[in-house]
């Protein structure tokens, strides 16, 4: 009997307990519009198939859909990059660092090591949680010299776990090693050969105050589970409930552009006809074109069929 009471007392304490990691309840609270699958900790888990299709979406297309939905603070630029011609796509897992404070650093270290099963330094704790398809999104408050929390050791770990690079509001180190990873497509502010300082009894300049809490990256607010699309020097954070709309809108625009450009080359229509609202005749031609080319287009066949079903032409 005592054992049982002890067990429940322990459970109860774990309910009271907090870490700097967001609770599942708060995670659900912040993402009420997401009705789909979630990770065990509550973080929205958009489908792998949509992530795959997102790779062909441009920033303009995603930006326009978000703007129409009144999401106007989800884009940030001004980055240095690794693999500037590649596209970074994945589910955000966020970390928020602040300038170091010994009192906070100590309690977070103590709690992390003794209660939460965290290992060694705080800068590796969020990385331990990463899974395939995640993108590690970090606010390191733009720290440059003595800022980097990531070099090629942690870079290797991040890449092995996620298959992705990072979005990092701060400086990275070991830039050569990070580039050698090959597909570590990343967005960061600067490079510096130094590293951050994390000894509460000695040199300290960085404390991890949040894991998967809302994080500001420049002009954008990032919520864990947001879908990262990084390309062409910019990064947009797509709320998970808008991902499908972004992808589908982009695919339709892409198909219409392909069709329009082809017909302009063939001189079947004038630029004025194509650059305007299309006539019924052109819309019919477009439907036919989609049907004829359905196996050769850069959009999955099933999607085109679904799209055609909704058309009246």
């Amino acid at each position: 009997m005592k054992k049982i009471i002890g067990f429940f007392a322990l459970l109860l304490m774990s309910t009271f307990a907090w870490g700097q990691q967001i609770s599942k309840e708060e995670m659900l609270f912040l993402t009420p519009l997401w009705k789909g699958e979630r990770f065990a900790d509550g973080r929205p888990k958009v489908s792998d198939a949509l992530l795959q299709r997102l790779k062909s979406v441009t920033l303009e297309e995603a930006w326009a859909v978000l703007k129409n939905e009144n999401f106007k603070h989800n884009y940030e630029d001004g980055w240095q990059t690794i693999n500037p011609d590649s596209v970074l796509v994945g589910r955000a897992l966020t970390a928020t660092f602040m300038p170091g404070r010994p009192d906070i650093q100590r309690v977070i270290d103590d709690r992390g090591h003794s209660k939460d099963g965290r290992i060694k330094s705080q800068n590796s704790w969020p990385i331990d949680m990463l899974v395939k398809g995640d993108v590690y999104v970090v606010d390191q408050f733009g720290a440059h010299e003595d800022g980097p929390t990531i070099g090629d050791n942690l870079g290797n770990s991040i890449y092995a776990k996620t298959g992705n690079g990072i979005v990092y509001n701060g400086a990275v180190r070991d830039i050569n090693g990070l580039k050698e990873l090959g597909r570590f497509t990343s967005f960061f502010r600067t490079y510096h050969p130094s590293h951050h300082l994390n000894n509460p009894d000695g040199e300290l300049n960085t404390t991890l105050v949040g894991i998967n809490t809302p994080t500001r990256i420049g002009k954008a607010t990032v919520i864990p589970g947001d879908v990262v699309l990084g390309r062409d020097g910019g990064v947009i954070f797509i709320p998970p409930h808008l991902l499908e709309k972004v992808v589908k809108t982009s695919e339709i625009v892409r198909l219409r552009d392909m069709f329009g450009h082809q017909r302009l080359r063939e001189q079947k229509y004038t630029p004025g006809q194509i650059d305007n609202r299309w006539s019924e005749e052109i819309e019919k031609d477009f439907s036919k074109w989609l049907n004829d080319k359905i196996d050769k287009l850069p959009v999955p066949k099933a999607q085109i069929q679904e799209f055609l079903k909704g058309r009246t032409w």
Partner: protein, 309 residues
């Protein structure tokens, strides 16, 4: 049967916690954990409550001396400069209440506004932190440096802040109604800029959570001292040490300057570690001039005993 009762009890309690969901204000246990180095009095919400006496004396110490003591304790990131100051001739001193603002996201703002209403918070969310202020609190907010459309207060909220706190604000953000704020006798503000626009495309994400103000990490219950040089944030558990040490340095400086003017000692004698004779002279002088002693006799005795001065 008993076990079942226990299980039901547990489920009921844990459910009641889960239903809290997001906390607009940092939960008490979280504040207590972060500030566990503080052993003194607390507000009901857990925020450290450094004594009124120390808060009053804080206004008279220098930023450099506070900075020096904290640096000696390993606190390197407590100062932030480069402010536009409203009413710069009065120091700003008090206990910190923090607020975090972020760029607007409708999906996040909607549940926060609903939660706020269910907690009986009134009006727009940028007034919620103000509703909590008590005398000697200082409202410190991270508005991510936004000035245009990022003005956290105008003279209406400014009047409310001053009526409640009798202090002022530190905003990594802008304000509007500068003239109206300047007219509030006693109000002191440290802000990044002024703009006639009002707050827009921005949302409150938390009250009394850790925030960053430039180079400094700020916790609720910290003391804040703002002077023309900038602002410095003092962890509650260091407040007494910072203030008494700074006061003590002020006392020894006053004594040293006086004796130099009188020609009693040479600059070399005063600018070095004092001899036992000079120390005895100082103790006698301070005993005869209690108005030069901002701290209590027992605090001074502690310093004279503890410190290798």
């Amino acid at each position: 049967m008993k076990i079942k009762a226990i299980i039901v009890f547990y489920l009921a309690i844990s459910l009641s916690f889960m239903s809290l969901g997001q906390n607009i204000q940092m939960p008490k246990e979280m504040i207590m954990t972060y500030s566990q180095a503080w052993k003194g009095e607390r507000f009901p919400d857990g925020r450290p409550r450094v004594s009124d006496d120390l808060v009053k004396r804080l206004a008279n110490i220098s930023i450099e001396e506070a900075w020096g003591v904290m640096r000696g304790e390993g606190y390197e990131s407590q100062f932030e400069g480069n402010w536009q100051i409203i009413n710069p001739n009065k120091p700003l001193a008090g206990r910190v209440v923090t607020a975090q603002y972020m760029p607007m996201r409708p999906d996040v703002n909607t549940p926060i506004m609903e939660k706020g209403k269910s907690e009986n918070r009134k009006g727009s969310s940028n007034s919620w932190p103000i509703d909590l202020l008590q005398e000697n609190d200082v409202y410190v907010a991270d508005g991510y440096g936004k000035i245009i459309d990022g003005t956290l207060i105008g003279d209406n909220l400014g009047n409310s802040i001053y009526a409640k706190s009798k202090t002022g604000v530190v905003f990594d953000a802008g304000i509007r109604d500068l003239e109206g704020l300047e007219e509030i006798d006693g109000f002191v503000g440290f802000v990044r800029g002024v703009d006639p626009s009002f707050i827009k495309n921005e949302m409150l994400t938390g009250i009394n959570y850790p925030i960053r103000i430039g180079r400094a990490t700020v916790m609720p219950g910290d003391l804040i001292l703002g002077k023309r040089e900038g602002v410095i944030f003092i962890p509650a558990h260091l407040a007494e040490k910072v203030i008494t040490t700074a006061e003590f340095i002020g006392m020894t400086d006053a004594f040293g300057h006086l004796r130099l003017k009188q020609g009693k000692y040479t600059p070399g004698q005063i600018d070095q570690k004092w001899t036992d004779d000079i120390k005895a002279d100082f103790v006698k002088w301070i005993d005869e001039n209690p108005d030069k002693r901002p701290m209590s006799k027992s605090e001074l005795a502690k310093i004279l005993k503890d410190k290798n001065w």
